[in-house]
Amino acid sequence: MKKPIYVRSFSAILDEGIYSPAGFAPWPQGQNGIFEITREQVLAKPYPAFGKLCLSDKLAFCAASVALSHCPVTEPLFTGICLGLPLGSLSTDLRYMESVLSAFPSPALFSATLPSSAIADIAIFFGLKGENRVFVNESDSGYTAMENAVRLLQTGKCNTVAVLYVLALEEKDFALLGDGNTGKNRAYALILSTSCDDGGKAMALEFKSAQPNKDQPCDSGELYFHSIMQLLHTRSAGSVPFNGNCVAGHFSMKKDVS
């Protein structure tokens, strides 16, 4: 029998501000949104490395911090991280290569060019020592991260998983991706767990795979994750389908579970 899965917490860091179980906090006037996000806006405790993080690592860390601040980790050895990072660490790759061409390759930048560096600071700060997965799929990295997290929970390899979806690129680099790109950075986090002691605050999550429809255009990875977050923000029951990349399925949410 499949284990039940609950969404214990969430966050969304978007153009307009930060969404969390506590509500919506718009960016203060004068702040250039995501690009000027501060540690104090996402985390109560100091973290000296925060200012040195590259954009994708910083957004992943911020999204995880907001979500985890509403859902403390109780079993770090069995808490995993599944990250969807469709753009990888492209901006950092470009900055590192510029440092190479200037004849002074930066070791700090080089270590941040690995997509997995985005999970390192989350693991270090929150002490998360469970399974790790980094997906850099094109359109479905968020879907794949969610699907993988559900599998880790249902097989008992983890009892909590932080699922992250991060789209991060420095402003000047968006032109590299062509006309179809919206040029908007964003980061989402969901804390999924097999246990629920939140007094009815958590939402139950069900996942079902489906037969992909090749005649339909591929769904947008960002819109898919955004739809899930909207259900969580409004505490609405609903189902979010995904179709694309030879895969299909949907995540359904039910409210008021206890």
């Binding site: 470009l94 390759p105 070791p107 270590s111 997995s116």
Partner: protein, 370 residues
């Protein structure tokens, strides 16, 4: 009652030194000298092996492996294509940074490389999963594929590991002072860093009742050190937990492991940490340990897949390859590192991997006997 397992259907040759030197798995068992082409010893920062030829190494690797691997019978609608790389082929990105001109049909992202490789392999209709867990990418790709097979998300998985040496990667490791000027000597007293290598390999997995002598992916696990961005935990605790979890997943006691395929990069900290992890997991009865990085170099994210292929060969040949470059033990723990080929006494292997971001991965392979 029959019990299905994740079975290796195909494990082809491994490619090392792409475009320059292609060596087979057999060389690892027969030769005791390094087969790394060695362009990065001492790193020349002007080194750019495939300049102005975008994705030449990816093309070479994919077409060569396609020739060596029979993928014709695969039902693509039931197959996942799992592309595993730390950075893949970065030469187009390097060219862009130098010229500031975007090559036609160019995307600098890893999933573009995966799509390109999938097309060359004739697997257009497979679902694609792109895994980038640093130097443990290949091992975690195998773990993900196995979990998908068990969950019946797919019936087959083609796991493709690929990473090429580029100016980007070579200067990066050099900036971290991680490269050896003399060549990698895993676990040796005189070790002073790693040797970079190009690498690619394919493993095809299926989920079915195993036949006699089939190689099975019997257990898998990953952990995070939660300790440091690039360096391994000094205690080896994270790798120890990964190894123990993989053994539990395989439902196998440590004494049934015939050999340990170590991550064995030949850096001071990795090998010291790994020796501690092995002692913690195995106690006093430690099976023979080896690393192939002295022979084929550190092939980044592809490396852990290539080394799983080598481990599968160990099981089939009942032989453990030598640890090229190893002469005298240079870690505090008394682990039995193989300096020369040995007979494999048990039909199971443990494969260990680690990567930047604090990631550890462990895979248990077993040769099936009815």
């Amino acid at each position: 009652m029959s019990i299905s397992e994740a079975v290796i259907l195909e494990q082809g040759e491994i490619l090392c030194g792409l475009g320059q030197l292609q060596e087979t798995v057999s060389d690892l068992f027969e030769n005791q000298t390094a087969i790394v082409p060695g362009p990065c010893f001492g790193v020349d920062v002007a080194y750019a092996p495939f300049k102005n030829e975008s994705w030449r190494s990816l093309t070479t690797a994919t077409l060569t492996l396609q020739t060596a691997t029979d993928l014709s019978d695969i039902d693509q609608s039931e197959t996942a294509f799992v592309f595993c790389a730390a950075k893949g082929d970065l030469t187009p990105l390097e060219e862009y940074c130098i010229s500031r001109k975007m090559p036609a049909d160019f995307s600098p992202l890893l999933h573009s490389q995966a799509r390109y490789a999938k097309k060359l392999l004739g697997l257009d209709d497979c679902r694609t999963i792109v895994v980038s867990n640093a130097c443990a990418s290949g091992a975690i790709g195998v773990q993900i594929a196995r979990e998908m097979l068990i969950a019946k998300t797919c019936k087959n998985a083609v796991i493709f590991g690929f990473d090429a040496i580029s100016r980007f990667v070579a200067t990066g490791f050099n900036s971290l002072a991680a490269l050896s000027p003399a060549g990698a000597k895993p676990f040796d007293a005189g070790r002073n860093g790693l040797t970079l290598g190009d690498g690619a390999g394919i493993v095809v997995l299926s989920y079915r009742e195993p036949f006699e002598d089939d190689i099975l992916i019997k257990g898998a696990a990953s952990t995070n050190d939660a300790n440091h961005r690039t360096g391994p935990s000094r205690t080896g605790e994270g790798l120890h937990r990964a190894a123990s979890a993989a053994l539990r997943d395989a439902n196998m006691p440590p004494y049934e492991i015939g050999a340990i395929k170590c991550h064995g990069t030949a850096t001071a900290y990795n090998d010291a940490m790994e020796a501690k992890a092995i002692v913690s997991a195995f106690g006093e009865e430690i099976p023979p340990c080896f690393s192939v990085k002295g022979a084929i170099g550190h092939t980044s994210g592809a490396g852990s897949l290539l080394e799983i292929i080598v481990a599968a060969e160990c099981l089939q040949r009942r032989k453990i390859p030598p640890t090229c470059g190893f002469e005298n033990l240079g870690v505090d723990e008394q682990i039995p590192v193989c300096a020369s080929s040995q007979t494999l006494l048990h039909q199971s292997m443990l494969c260990l991997s680690a990567g930047f971001g604090g990631i550890n991965a462990a895979i248990v392979l077993t040769e099936h006997s009815a």
